[in-house]
């Protein structure tokens, strides 16, 4: 039995979406994060994206690790199950959940410590397997919940609030995702909802490993001068390569745009993304050049954002494993248990 969720009664003011849900139906419990924390803006963007995509709120599984960022799944989509796993291990738990039921939308929410420090190995392997998910790293360059130590994404030379300087090379999750074969790779900024929401929508529509690195300043421990993850720094150095204008089910007519200003990408699920190019030469379907470009711009001190790479015909782990269409968690005893007769025959083979 499947349901179409029944929207609750709402203040007339709230505008319902196609399924009749209002924004409020996508909210969760009240955030316990610091006032002004970038992570809360990302939660808001997720709520917005889910609302605009007319997703049934409960058909989402919210997975996370440990950290301030990993607490956020409690603060959106209150009607969806959530799993706050152990530190750095969300990717494996998400993979398992996804294997058990391929029909849900999997949102993996993590932090830079959770993903790039302790969780780097799991992040990498989850991505290279093409698990169908949206992996969101709420990247503030520090361990917020443990009070502001550098994480592995902190830039070399970046200053800590305590005054220390980071001397290790930073781990750029976006470059990593590209090297590992992620089929949807983007970077955004918690302070730029106009860019973030469409990216999240496109990522959710993407049927494969979608990785979004969202710079999300920690107002408590990493929003000072000398930090490369502060609101000011990111605003000043943000270089968007493109902007997703809309996502539709039919190929949009692009004739009326100046050549080289628009790019249309069709995703596996059939939807089309219309991208306005902000950097004429940037092509988000060329993995090799994307990697080189990111490296160059990073050296130039820029924070490159936008849809950095998308593979039009992505495959996910279930395709590779050739699993049945029905969710494995719904298969009944009759499908699963070969029964006594087969066993009797099998015994002979062992005699």
């Amino acid at each position: 039995m499947t349901y179409i969720a029944k929207p609750k009664l709402h203040h007339p003011g709230l505008k319902p979406n196609k399924l009749g849900f209002t924004h409020r139906d996508y909210e969760g419990s009240i955030s316990t994060l610091c006032a002004g924390c970038g992570h809360d803006s990302i939660s808001a963007a997720l709520i917005q994206a889910a609302y605009e995509l007319d997703i049934e709120p409960y058909r989402v599984a919210k997975m996370s690790g440990i950290g301030c960022s990993s607490k956020t799944p409690d603060y959106f989509l209150g009607n969806a199950h959530g799993f706050n796993a152990v530190h750095g291990r969300m990717p494996s738990v998400l993979t398992g959940a996804n294997l058990a039921n391929r029909d849900l939308i999997y949102l993996g929410v993590s932090g830079d410590g959770d993903s790039a420090s302790i969780g780097l190995g799991q992040f990498a392997h989850c991505v290279r397997r093409g698990v169908n998910m949206v992996y969101i790293c709420e990247n503030n360059g520090v361990y917020g919940l443990t009070k502001g130590q550098f994480s592995a994404t902190a830039d070399k030379g970046s200053k800590s609030k305590a005054g220390g300087t980071n001397s290790d090379n930073p781990i750029d999750l976006v470059s990593l995702a590209l090297v590992l074969g992620a089929t949807f790779v983007a970077r955004s900024f918690s302070g730029d909802k106009k860019q973030l929401v469409p990216l999240l929508k496109a990522a959710i529509a993407h049927q494969g490993s979608a990785v979004i690195d969202v710079i999300s300043p920690c107002v408590q421990f990493n929003n000072h001068a000398g930090s490369t993850k502060s609101f000011d720094f990111v605003r000043e150095h943000n270089e968007a390569v493109n902007r997703i204008d809309f996502m539709v089910d039919r190929a949009p007519i692009t004739a009326d745009y100046a050549p080289g200003t628009v790019q249309v990408v069709q995703q596996h699920d059939g939807t089309y993304l219309k991208l306005s190019k902000l950097h004429a030469e940037y092509d988000p379907t060329d993995r090799a050049r994307a990697m080189a470009y990111l490296q160059e711009r990073h050296n130039a001190g820029e924070v490159v954002t936008g849809l950095l790479y998308v593979e039009e015909q992505a495959n996910d782990l279930h395709a590779n494993l050739n699993t049945v269409a029905a969710p494995l968690n719904r298969l009944g005893e009759r499908t699963l248990c070969p029964g006594s007769a087969k066993l009797a025959a099998l015994n002979d083979a062992y005699r």
């Binding site: 989402v60 199950h81 706050n84 291990r89 959940a97 190995g121 782990l317 248990c337």
Partner: protein, 612 residues
């Protein structure tokens, strides 16, 4: 010195070099004897290496049906110069040594009380036409097999039948093997006639039993138990369990129409990811398991604590090997008991199942999934290398088609829709087992947040001491409930009344059975209790109280199971006497009988094997 004369009761050991292809020839030998209706048990002793190091295959022929290692060797087939001295030393006085006599024995050590059986294997193999060196190398194994078959007066046809079956279709190969067999057989008949007094005599003592490895049986049990997700990372001796599951899934779980898989198997990047996948899948309502060994159990600790505290089902097969650390990867031990029972930091207790052989490995494998979902907690199936990677003669596998999977307390959409109360960590039924919901069951009811941090009965985050204590005490009560659900220990009383008892578990079982009869023959009587699971029921306490002294026989150094019994049943340690065997080889009847006999002052030479 009298040559040993024995019929259907002796030990043959093949000493080979790994990578030389001896395995199939040796197994052929064991299976042939079974075909002749005589019970055998075989053990493969191999190195942690791929090519060039020593490997042994030990076959015990026992008309009486003893399936444990006996200890000692009656006929040694010494194909490995590196280990000649060691192999020679292991032979019983009056025993036999078969060797390649192509070159005369010169420097090699010899023993006056060991009878030499020389067969010019290399020379004979060179007479095989149309073969390349590598083939001849392999066929040498078949040649010595032929000789052994003759020396033990076995049926050549039986062996040939098996060869034909094995190489079905490959006629050239069959002919070649037959030829090689015959070379060895004829040579022995001609030149060694009457030299060997060991004999296999056709009998009807095998019945409908099967010859199977524990990992194979357990993998099959997981298929029957309804596992759909398997995540694993290769590690000896557990690898073959995941591979067996894969093979059986390909046979039984591929949709005949769509050719799609009703299963998902992921070779994870490591053990931490493997258990993470298993927990995620179980959380989402699929029966999922992993198979690993000691190092994996160490790495999975943090996740075990999460599953225990957040109450997520999980099935873990621990094929125990010699620890600590990398230890002895290709040797057997029962030394992960305490780490599994108390896995992870903080106060935890976990369910362990203790199969005695491949037959029980199959049953407990299937059972484990019911228990994990019923109790919403990890369940460890504690196998070891001896059961897992050796072929054991055991009862055929069986399945009751009327049996239904117990999916535990999972709330349906209908129940939620009907407004049935749902509080994730509330003890509604008084058995301390809460109800759970699966993701996306109902649009607006039953969703909750799973976490490893403290929470109240409604699964809301809480740092209140009282909420924490409520859950911790409920978890203790849940463990009490588990006592009534896990396989109970089995008691067997001696013929005569006795004040002495023995407790044992797992792969120690066959050796113990035999040791008991030896002891009985010497007038030593013991009642026994075979543990089949942790937590322990009242039976354990009752058994101990019913005896003055209880021997606890284990294959580890620190008497881990004994400690667990003392801890969990508040038993006075003074009641126990530990019999510990932990050199990595399977425990033997001789060792047990000697160790117990000694302590009961029965004069009997102490066994060679290492122990405390």
């Amino acid at each position: 010195m009298q040559p040993i004369a024995a019929t259907n009761d002796f030990v043959v050991k093949f000493a080979n070099v790994n990578g030389s292809g001896s395995a199939s020839a040796n197994e052929l030998f064991a299976r042939s004897i079974l075909r002749m209706g005589v019970p055998v048990c075989s053990r493969n002793i191999f190195p942690s290496n791929i090519q060039g190091l020593p490997t042994w295959y030990e076959v015990r022929v026992s008309g009486e049906g003893w399936l444990g290692r006996r200890g000692g060797v009656d006929l040694m087939v010494a194909m490995n110069p590196q280990t000649w001295d060691k192999d020679l030393a292991e032979i019983e006085s009056g025993g036999y040594l078969l060797y390649d006599s192509t070159k005369p024995l010169t420097s090699q050590k010899l023993r006056a009380d060991v009878n030499l059986l020389g067969v010019p294997l290399t020379q004979l193999s060179n007479t095989l036409e149309g073969t390349i060196p590598r083939e001849r190398q392999l066929l040498k194994n078949i040649i010595y097999l032929g000789a052994v078959v003759q020396l033990l007066s076995m049926h050549l046809e039986t062996v040939q039948d098996l060869i034909t079956k094995q190489f079905k279709g490959k006629d050239k190969l069959i002919k070649l093997n037959f030829a090689a067999m015959k070379l060895g057989y004829d040579y022995a008949a001609k030149t060694l006639a009457g030299k060997c007094r060991l004999k296999v005599e056709k009998a009807d003592l095998v019945g409908d039993r099967i010859f199977i490895q524990g990992n194979d049986a357990a993998g099959l049990g997981a298929v029957y138990g309804g596992a759909t997700v398997c995540a694993w990372y290769p590690i000896t001796p557990s690898t073959s369990l995941a591979e067996a599951f894969t093979a059986h899934c390909k046979t039984f779980r591929v949709d005949p129409v769509t050719k799609k898989n009703n299963f998902a198997i992921v070779q994870a990047e490591d053990e931490i990811a493997a258990i993470g996948i298993v927990i995620g899948a179980n959380w989402n309502g699929a029966r999922a398991f992993t198979a690993t060994s000691g190092p994996g159990i160490s790495l999975m600790q943090e996740f075990f604590g999460l599953a225990y505290f957040a109450e997520v089902p999980a099935v873990v097969f621990d094929i125990q090997r010699g620890g600590p650390s990398t230890g002895m990867p290709t040797r057997t031990q029962q030394s992960d008991i305490l780490l599994a029972a108390y896995a992870s930091h903080g106060d935890t207790k976990h369910v362990l199942l203790l199969p005695r052989d491949p037959h029980e490995a199959f049953e407990f494998a299937a059972e484990a999934f019911d228990l994990a979902e019923r109790l919403q907690t990890p369940v460890f199936v504690m196998l070891d290398l001896d059961i897992g990677m050796n072929d054991w003669l055991c009862e055929p596998l069986s399945w009751d088609d009327s049996r239904k999977y117990d999916r535990g307390k999972v709330m349906s959409a209908e129940e939620l829709e009907a407004g049935t109360f749902f509080g994730r960590y509330t003890d509604v039924d008084g058995d301390a087992i809460p109800y759970r919901t699966l993701p996306a069951t109902h649009p607006s009811k039953g969703a909750y947040f799973t976490r490893g941090s403290s929470r109240n009965a409604m699964a809301k985050y809480s740092e209140e001491g009282a909420d924490y204590v409520y859950n911790m005490q409920r978890l203790l009560r849940k463990f009490e409930t588990a006592k009534g659900l896990v396989p109970a220990p089995l008691r067997r009383d001696a013929k005569e009344k006795t004040r002495y008892g023995a407790i044992f578990y797992g792969s120690t079982s066959p050796a113990l059975d035999e040791a008991l009869s030896h002891l009985e023959a010497q007038g030593v009587h013991l009642n026994t209790l075979r543990l089949r699971a942790f937590p322990f029921g009242e039976e354990v306490v009752d058994f101990v109280n019913a005896h003055d002294q209880v021997f606890v026989i284990e294959q580890n150094r620190d008497a881990q199971m004994q400690k667990l019994m003392v801890n969990e049943c508040a038993i006075d340690p003074a009641r126990f006497i530990s019999i510990l065997h932990y050199d990595g080889t399977p425990i033997t009847a001789r060792f047990i009988a000697a160790a117990i006999g000694e302590r009961m002052n029965v004069s009997k030479p102490k066994a060679k094997e290492a122990a405390e």
